[in-house]
Symmetry: D2
Subunit: 136 residues, 4 copies
């Protein structure tokens, strides 16, 4: 049995991310989610850059976010990603954003697993699948 792997990012909110309501603009959370997914893959031992070198891509086919509490300028955010499931030619990653243990937003992205050569859906090679699911 293996513990669930997590990708974790700590990030101080810049002015750039805020809007005139004085809070982080809702679209920026998808960038936060991406950054934690990158760290999830690094934590699994296969960076997304290495994944791409294997002629594989993970374009997002669906994204969903619940906004619970606003993030503000200079807040130090923690963004955490976990693999929810990987089945066939699809996978889901769950992400949540907290500040001082208060949940600000949570959601998930569903990714197609694609060959970058054919742009068609492909199953992951077994070794890559094992790396991501932690069946090492």
């Amino acid at each position: 049995m293996t513990a669930t792997r997590q990708g974790i990012v700590h990030y101080r909110v810049p002015y750039a991310d805020t809007d005139q309501m004085g809070v982080v603009y809702y679209g920026n959370y998808l960038t936060y989610f991406e950054r934690s997914r990158n760290e999830l893959m690094r934590a699994c031992g296969l960076t997304y850059k290495e994944f791409e070198a294997k002629k594989l891509m993970l374009p997002v086919v669906h994204a969903s976010i619940d906004y619970k509490n606003p993030a503000r300028y200079d807040d130090e955010l923690e963004i955490v990603a976990e693999l929810a499931w990987l089945r066939g030619v699809r996978m889901q990653v769950n992400c949540r954003v907290t500040c001082k243990e208060v949940l600000l937003a949570e959601g998930y992205t569903i990714h197609a697993i694609i060959s970058s050569e054919t742009r068609k859906p492909v199953r992951l090679p077994e070794d890559v699948q094992d790396v991501l699911t932690g069946n090492g």
Copy 2:
């Protein structure tokens, strides 16, 4: 009976919006959605700026997007927003992004209706509700 009001934006994709996969980055669609919502309110005869002057706000509490086909640099996009429903202290706006009548992405945002003074949920004044729902 009134026809459904739409907010429509035409937008040429800049380099800024693309990523190294050669397509529009998935987070940017939430900005596209916002821009069409702004035009929806303008089409209803009450801009969001005027709405804010009435001490009302519409923060996003949920967002959901399905990505169907990639948008690319220099594509001329059409982004269309429509009110799905307005009930009590919540409303949903549906958005879709097309290029030459090909659907690229569609989704929706759910908004809380909030007083900017108390930051608490409020029902819209009846005249504002009529403006948005087209019961004019």
Copy 3:
């Protein structure tokens, strides 16, 4: 003699572009500049996409901006680009952003002219140079 060609963009400022000071975030002006440069090339009769198809690139090597007055949410901006000069393997484009004829920001970008195959500086083919400088 030919009139100076211009690239012109009209753009309604979304919430996405503002920050908590209630004005457009200073970094976004470089995206505005890019969008007007794209329209400048289209006005010259050679889009940047077509330019790229000729295995040419125009990466920015220097950018400079003076911020004069803030742009705000829902302002309708006009962004105008003009070729300042094209010499050897470099060119400069001047841009300015106005709202209701008030100057908000002005600046310029200097571009290297590069082969996308060798990534080395190249002189433009004479026909491309004529298109951009208006010596048609």
Copy 4:
């Protein structure tokens, strides 16, 4: 005599920041600069948030960047800010972005020192000036 204070940010480039040329989009460097300025103020012992609480603002009136080498996806960048000078109602901050000690971009921003109440230029209180210049 005091050593020059620096604001330092380490940052892993996400897909979000890249464009279809496969490099970081030129406008994003202004966000990088901002983030290092925030850390510079924190290193001086007065965060920009605390600075704002004193009814002071530092809007950017000029920005200038030289782009030397491209930053790429998953690069780990170091962004460093230093105060160049503070005189009367203006100050300049120099910033540079490196990856593995290779210089990618350098530039500076000039800021007006403004009262957030009157929106007019003001001199900094002497204690704030000492904090920023390191004459503690």
